[in-house]
Symmetry: C2
Subunit: 201 residues, 2 copies
Amino acid sequence: MSKGQGALRYALLGLLAGSPGTGYALKKRFAIELADAWYAETSQIYPELARMVEDGLISEISRGARGSKTYAITDAGIDELVRWLKETEPNRASRNESLMRLFFFFLLDDDESAELFRREIRHHRETLERYKSWKEPIAKANVYHERFNLIVLDWGIRYEEGFIEWLEWTEAEAKKARKSRGLSSRKASAEASARRAARAS
Amino acid sequence: MSKGQGALRYALLGLLAGSPGTGYALKKRFAIELADAWYAETSQIYPELARMVEDGLISEISRGARGSKTYAITDAGIDELVRWLKETEPNRASRNESLMRLFFFFLLDDDESAELFRREIRHHRETLERYKSWKEPIAKANVYHERFNLIVLDWGIRYEEGFIEWLEWTEAEAKKARKSRGLSSRKASAEASARRAARAS
DNA sequence: CTCGTCATGTAAAGCGTTACATGATTTC
DNA sequence: GAAATCATGTAACGCTTTACATGACGAG
């Protein structure tokens, strides 16, 4: 089994397996249909679509206003997408910058961290509301592949609800940890840790 | 407020704020202390550490066996990390390939998708067990900044538990969706969707 | 007729992965 | 003594972002 490389190609293929569209529309569909599980700039999308036509995975089915090109997936494209799903291992390397930042909150005092928590919670509440507002329109449409979108949207909602709950719990825990410790200066804390390391080696 | 660029630098700075270490050790600490919220190859880490020494954010505090270099964060480094936390907006662009793949399961039949669900659930159960096994050792150590690692580790555990639960629910939902629909061939499904799009335009 | 949105692309710079190269030290 | 792990780095390639460039169409 090969590694999951070139995921952008398969993201586009998957969106086109749902329904045909232009490059411009595909970019927007990442945020809605894939709920940000993938994302790309137009400068990546257009060249990739051209390469996929060359490879016979998609075809240009019509031209519209403003020189727009609508692409549809081909049989070969569906086969290739299914092969990728079944035969390749997903690339699980994950990077989540805003989560990483939380690991470093031990350097902040209560006031500083409170403000960052507020920002974080606000952002996730907004995302949660957005996801919830998509639920009904998709359910109404009752299109086969959108039933699956609805299932995955459910994960987005569970995730955001769980994360908000955890953020609220965490802020209180962080406060407790800071209180039960004498040191107030971040530098004193870092220096103590450096001394510990020096003793250990 | 600038965008959250060059996050690798701050990830390294944050780890070194916890305790000093070599480039080689830092790479391993991503998986454990940051629970994969960030990650980098050594080919990225070594040059970045050299740049950070030049910029005065860290310093080489000792040399050990095999030419190893142990780095520690400087006061300027702590200031820069705290500034980054407080003054910059996190980059929230997220890519999660294995979640993206789930969006495309409407193309698979029950047997095909069952196997992929098994693989996915197995992976997340393993991750969950790994996280759980870290809880006690960290709690025992009772080092200030590790109290925060413990708090964020709690998110990892909640996340994996929630995701596994959702995966189990999802497999059943996907089966229901497939059953309530006549079509069996994926190509028939994609073609029907292409016809819908053609009518709409 | 103006503003927002639709629409397609190229170029350059920065970030991240894979492959390669080398060798010391520890553990069994 | 062999194998695993520790340890540092460079080079080439591929992926992603930012900046730039251009223009048509629709709504008000």
